[in-house]
């Protein structure tokens, strides 16, 4: 018998408190109001007082509305029927398709036993030299794209999704502009990828609490498919909105804030999601790419800061390109030793030279005398920016490495660049038309 309660004793923010018995922590309840029915989740128990966050918000909830506890945690349907479909943050259809209730699975399951993980070893090729050469993306990696409003981060996310060789794409949109949602849907459709994609979309106009469940929905479904042997790519945008929703609920619950109003468990909350990225021993994998916009372009803001400590590197998207400095793929060493013998050396040296180029630029802007070395660096930097760094460049890794050697040899003498002699011997391009 599911008892119905109707004495709400407190409504604050999106959290309602009711007196009830025999309620489990994080259990789901149904709140019936004059404006419709919404799910709510138990977030605190104190004697008889049960506090719930209402997924569709507390607006219009009346103190005598009916609450029915469902005796289960929040769940999502998970089967092949989800493919090609679009859902809200609470798992309701957003397209015109039918409601799915088959094979329901719990959200936020236990963490993977580290002993059941394997070292990731497959590179995901993107055709973007700034990623493929300098910060290779690896299957099962969790990687955020740090960016600021106005940058083409969603375009970058979509492009990587289209070019990556994966079995499935799961997109989680949090606080997404409606246009951006349509952009993703149309891009997936144009490339014929919608049939192996699942979308969980919370738009900016949807209730805040729903935003909290988008990553959990995406990852619970991803986990099921990965266990069936699928390579799943999960795209999340924008995790800063997720963190802001956490903050909103925490403040409502009168939790003591730790840093700029964010709750003390922000790190654990983010980690619980990102750590779902996994390469299962003997099954599939989950790779997570997540956009994190940095308020005020400040990487020390709690959201990007905590994220950086959790994820396996980060891409900075700034000025329309992936920044060579700060961008890092921690797993690149797992794969870039097996691609081509010059990969690591090119990667290291070209970035160091690019750093020197930036210094030379600074020197020039201060009006200092340019040495001949500085002039070479300026030429190098210019070519690096146009031929490798621009996001419009779309070439496979090997071509990109060759291009790197070409730029180096056009500008520098082979003894100037500080590379191991054996590599120089093997890859230094012959000077065209200079000798004979």
């Amino acid at each position: 018998m599911k008892k119905v309660y109707s004495d709400i004793i407190q409504i604050a923010g999106d959290v309602i408190t009711v007196e009830a018995e025999d309620v489990g922590y994080r259990e789901i309840a149904e709140v019936r109001t004059a404006h419709g029915t919404s799910l709510a989740q138990v977030i605190r128990l104190e004697g008889k007082r049960v506090s719930l966050q209402v997924l569709s918000g507390s607006r219009g909830v009346s103190t005598n509305d009916k609450i029915r506890f469902l005796r289960r945690p929040l769940q999502v349907s998970c089967s092949d029927n989800l493919l090609g479909r679009v859902f809200t943050g609470s798992g309701q259809p957003r397209d015109n398709g039918p409601d799915l209730t088959d094979n329901m699975i719990d959200l936020g399951g236990p963490s993977v036993n580290p002993a059941k993980r394997v070292i990731p070893k497959n590179m995901i090729r993107t055709g973007i030299p700034m990623i493929d050469i300098f910060n290779s993306l690896v299957e099962s990696q969790k990687l955020p794209i740090f960016s600021v409003a106005g940058e083409p981060y969603n375009e970058l996310l979509a492009r990587i999704a289209m070019q990556a060789e994966v079995d499935m794409i799961i997109l989680g949109g949090m606080g997404l502009k409606y246009d951006d949602y349509l952009f993703f849907r149309d891009t997936l459709e144009e490339h014929g990828a919608l049939s192996h994609s699942i979308l969980f979309i919370h738009t900016a106009s949807d209730p805040t609490v729903e935003c909290l469940f988008v990553p959990d929905m995406c990852l619970a479904v991803a986990e099921k498919f990965a266990l069936q042997g699928k390579k799943v790519l999960v795209l999340l945008t924008d995790m800063t909105n997720f963190a802001d929703s956490l903050k909103e609920i925490a403040i409502t619950m009168e939790q003591i804030p730790s840093n700029r109003g964010y709750p003390g468990d922000l790190y654990s909350q983010l980690a619980a999601r990102y750590e779902k990225a996994v390469d299962f021993r003997g099954a599939g994998s989950i790779t997570i790419l997540a956009v994190t916009t940095m308020p005020g372009d400040d990487v020390t803001h709690p959201v990007p800061d905590n994220t950086g400590y959790i994820t396996e590197g980060q891409f900075y998207l700034r000025g329309g390109h992936i920044e060579p400095f700060g961008s890092l793929s921690r797993l690149k060493q797992q794969v870039n030793g097996k691609t081509r013998s010059d990969h690591r050396a090119i990667m290291d040296r070209m970035i160091q030279l690019f750093a020197d180029y930036r210094e030379a630029l600074e020197k020039r802007s201060m009006g200092f005398e340019m040495s001949s070395w500085d002039n070479k660096l300026l030429e190098y930097g210019r070519r690096f920016e146009t031929e490798l760094m621009a996001l419009s460049v779309n070439i496979p890794l090997e071509k990109a490495l060759d291009r790197g050697w070409q730029i180096l040899s056009d500008i520098f003498d082979s003894t100037e660049i500080g590379m191991k002699e054996s590599l120089v011997k093997e890859y230094w391009p012959a000077k065209v038309g200079s000798a004979e």
Partner: protein
């Protein structure tokens, strides 16, 4: 022990904090189990108010209901100590992860606890004492071989008086729960001793004669550490750095190359992927000193970021207790904790739930004392039989925003002997290890002579001064001498302080090689050069750098090493 189980019932749930109404009495920090259907969830009492005890739950609290029964155990949170710990991979509560995976599959099952020690294995026991002699806690009764060590079976640490050995088992094979000795206290009461004992993790083991001052350098084979900011056997050091600066890579290098007997790694609230690297690599890597797999000298405590937060807090204590246990056998143990900030954050989360008055950045007021008492568990000790053992502790710190002014870094700096500060600028420029040579410090002494260390430091300081100057007045504003100093500093940094962690040879440099190479480098730093033009000077150092980098990747006993050395000598002139 035999007292009847005290009970209580759940009264409130807030995240991983559970409030419990208790019937009789409770003990602060005792372990309790919350009974959810057929699951028994482990928790620890952390505050008592009236008839309510507040417990931190080591598990996810989903489905916990008001009124559910709770059992109090009268035991503090403890670990099992005995032969078979080396090579184990456990979570923060010492549950072995591989057996768990075998039994429960891909996921960590809530409420599933297993013993780390194997009660069926037999160990070859050799008695070390005879009946009739007097012993105290920590004294050896006999040994069993564990990998390359003689694992001492000791008088349990919790026995405080003097005892007389009544009997000792004969040489032979025993299981760890078998009686291997009986000892009698002054009143004539007998105590059975087995190979296994329990110890509460938050209490330091003090069964030694005296604590000594650490003096000998701990050889890490990382040049910048050994030469400029050394660590001592029995000392402490911390490695704060922003994300992406290479903290974990540095710790992995230390765990592989440091010259110690046992390494305990506490992966505390960090990425699971990094632990997996250790798990897969260590059994394959051979320790050059013992010719055995690195895993045989390593214990990994792994409570990664998505595992329950309260167990994260206990994982560092579990680690240090295991380290102290092996120290009691006269071994040198290195404990690497990555990252102590996650541990501090776990305290902060709990403190927030307890609604304690927050200190700086909402960390609890007791943060500093907890950090201090943790690092104080390091040390060089003389055991009662005269042998020396040590625990060296190195902790990483992950400061919010990479800003070292934050509370965890500051509290740590007060209590450690060496500070290896990682810099984001160096990491961005791919200069690894990204330890800032000018900011970092050490109170310990290197095996490199002082005057050489000072020469290196002077050059670095001058070089950085000139570099700063050049930013204002340009290269043309510097004299040739200043410019050469700048190049020398860069050169020293590039070819000596930086090390390529992914090169088989360059990743670890022995003491002999460090001394040898440094000699050659100092001949450059000391030399007065006459260059006509700055471009000429730059070109000279660029070529020299190329030579040294190539040289660094050559085996010291190889022909090519000698050949390259001749080239270098010629180039220096």
């Amino acid at each position: 022990m035999s007292e009847k189980i005290r009970k209580g019932s759940v009264f409130g749930v807030n995240g991983n904090m559970v409030t419990v109404n208790f019937d009789e009495h409770v003990m602060q920090n005792e372990v309790a189990y919350i009974i959810v259907g057929n699951e028994r969830l482990k928790a620890e009492v952390i505050r008592v108010r009236g008839k309510n005890a507040e417990l931190q739950l080591f598990e996810d609290s989903v489905g916990v209901k008001i009124g559910m029964p709770v059992e109090f155990t009268a035991n503090l949170l403890s670990v099992d100590l005995g032969p078979g710990l080396l090579g184990s991979v456990v979570d923060g509560l010492q549950n072995p992860l591989y057996p768990l995976a075998e039994k429960f599959g891909f996921f960590l099952k809530r409420g599933a606890y297993m013993d780390v020690l194997n009660y069926e294995n037999e160990w070859e026991f050799t008695p070390g004492v005879k009946a009739g002699i007097k012993v105290r806690s920590g004294d050896m009764l006999g040994t069993v071989p564990e990998n390359m060590f003689k694992h001492r079976i000791m008088v349990p640490f919790n026995l405080s008086d003097e005892y007389t050995v009544a009997s000792v088992a004969a040489k032979g094979k025993y299981k760890i729960k078998d009686e291997i000795a009986v000892i009698k206290d002054a009143a004539g009461k007998e105590h059975r001793v087995t190979m296994v004992q329990m110890w509460p993790i938050k209490v330091p083991i003090k069964a030694y004669a005296q604590k000594l001052k650490p003096v000998d350098p701990l050889i890490t084979k990382i040049r910048i550490i050994d030469t400029l900011v050394p660590v001592c056997v029995g000392g402490t050091f911390c490695t704060p750095g922003p994300f992406g600066a290479g903290k974990t890579v540095l710790q992995h290098l230390l765990s592989r190359h440091a010259e110690v007997d046992v390494v305990v790694i506490a992966a505390c609230g960090e990425r699971a992927g990094e632990v997996v690297e250790l798990l897969e690599e260590f059994p394959e890597l051979i320790d050059p000193r013992t010719q055995r797999s690195l895993m045989e000298r390593t214990i990994i405590i792994c409570n990664t970021s998505s595992m329950p937060v309260a167990a994260r807090e206990s994982s560092v204590y579990t680690a240090v207790t295991l380290a102290e246990y092996y120290r009691q056998m006269g071994l040198n143990v290195l404990l690497l904790a990555d990252s102590t900030s996650r541990w501090a954050q776990a305290m902060r989360e709990m403190s927030g739930r307890l609604e304690e008055i927050p200190g700086e950045e909402a960390f609890p007021a007791y943060l500093e004392s907890r950090i201090a008492s943790f690092y104080e568990r390091a040390g060089l000790v003389q055991l009662r039989d005269g042998t020396i053992g040590s625990v060296t502790i190195g902790g990483t710190v992950s400061p919010a925003g990479g800003n070292f002014e934050e509370p965890v870094t500051q509290a740590t700096l007060k209590v450690v002997g060496a500070f290896h500060g990682l810099s984001r600028d160096r990491a961005n420029a791919r200069k690894y290890p990204s330890i800032d040579p000018l900011e970092s410090w050490s109170k310990y002494t290197s095996f490199i002579e002082d005057d050489k260390v000072n020469l290196g430091r002077d050059i670095l300081r001058r070089s950085s001064d000139v570099e700063r100057m050049m930013k204002v007045i340009g290269e043309e504003g510097t004299s040739m001498d200043e410019f050469v100093d700048y190049l020398k500093g860069e050169f020293f940094d590039d070819v000596y302080l930086q090390q390529n962690a992914f090169d088989k040879i360059d990743e670890a440099t022995t003491v002999e090689r460090q001394k040898y190479v440094l000699e050659r480098i100092e001949s450059v730093l000391d030399k007065k050069f006459d260059f006509e033009k700055k471009d000429e000077a730059r070109g000279f150092f660029q070529r020299l750098r190329q030579d040294f980098i190539t040289w660094n990747a050559m085996a010291i006993d190889s022909e090519e090493f000698k050949a390259k050395e001749q080239d270098i000598k010629q180039r220096i002139g």
